[in-house]
Subunit: 226 residues, 2 copies
């Protein structure tokens, strides 16, 4: 069974300090994006890796690869205006058979266990996403009004979102819609059925400077206990 | 204007390691609960502090106060079977006039700014809660089914939730209802109107062992930048 991963790191990092795209910031001495790539390579050594970046940052990434002796084989693909277009560009580089994981480059702490479990589940169920429960109370706003939501019914969605290649490639032929909030919603809009598996609170997305401190702490705790 | 805070730390810590209630675990060398109390004392030096604990842990807390030279004046109140009853016990120790903040003992990183802002807003609006936006995609489950939720309409609710004493004390005279997920829902069920203010992603609730690593990192980052 052929396995692929598309690691999406095509954001411009507007919410991050210094306007350096966050995927190039260092975490434990190594760029965030390299952690994400490593995780898939270690979990699934035969996997084919596609990294989607804005072309402005191709040279920056290549320089970082040299600097950090990063030699995991991968294909660089150009990002688009929205995440949807970036993923679509990535999908154009994979065949119709096999399974593909689509992963946020800014989730460097993804565990091997979730990667393995998601691929096994996707082989059975065609579309699989990791989710976690919500700890806090939740409100739904509607204009200036708001009311309590049922926390226990809600799940926060993470990546990797893993699909049969044939299914997700066809789904991405649809016109772009603003309601496509992630890959699962694209597949659902095309009639696909999505299966939930357990994610992990450690699998955070690094969006703001503060998240990097949190990731450093989690990485350190992981090193101590392994 | 009289100000009060009820710090609720009456959980038994079932989800935490070693079954030690999490509020007594150390963060930066000091029990989590002491950080929470300190924050209110520093933000509002005239505040009257009520701490709600299960009575089994009164002695443990007193010993910790001696050990850590903790001399901020406070009243200890016995917890009840559910959070609702613990808060109600706390409210029985405050008068009908003034403002009261109700805060999770397990949110030690609450900022002075949010505390001050919440009190000012509660003086105007009678009921105020801090909320933050949701970063991840969200799903709503319904039995074994699920669908995408509108992330942008959702807010995660934190504490302190701050109220006019008269309003919240009356609201807590209601019969307990399983749908009371926090103090705001109790006040709303009694006809009160709740105002949202900005919380902070740093204001995490320490529920599991992993959260303590995150809190350590945030505390360290705060020390470095202040």
């Amino acid at each position: 069974l052929k396995k692929f991963v598309i690691i999406v790191a095509a954001g411009a990092g507007k919410r991050f300090k210094n306007h350096i795209p966050k995927q190039f910031e260092c975490l434990g001495g190594k760029p965030i994006l390299m952690h994400s790539v490593n995780a898939f390579y270690e979990a699934e050594p035969q996997i084919r890796i596609i990294i989607v970046l804005q072309s402005d940052f191709f040279q920056c990434w290549k320089d970082l690869c040299v600097k950090h002796d990063f030699i995991i084989p991968h294909t660089l693909v150009m990002g688009g205006p929205e995440r949807f277009h970036s993923v679509k560009n990535g999908l154009s580089h994979i065949p119709d058979d096999g399974l593909v994981a689509i992963h946020d480059g800014a989730r460097p702490l993804i565990s091997h266990e979730i990667i393995n479990t998601a691929f096994i589940a996707a082989d059975k169920h065609e579309a699989v996403i990791p989710v976690i429960e919500v700890n806090d109370s939740v409100r739904i706003t509607e204009g200036s009004e708001h009311k309590a939501a049922e926390r226990k019914k809600l799940r926060l969605v993470q990546t990797p979102q893993v699909f049969k290649c044939s299914v997700v490639k066809k789904a991405y032929q649809q016109e772009y819609d603003l309601r496509f909030s992630d890959d699962a919603t694209v597949v659902e809009a095309f009639g696909g059925k999505v299966r939930l598996i357990n994610g992990s609170i450690e699998n955070i997305k690094i969006t703001r400077a503060q998240d990097l401190h949190i990731a450093e702490a989690l990485l350190k705790a992981r090193t101590l206990t392994s």
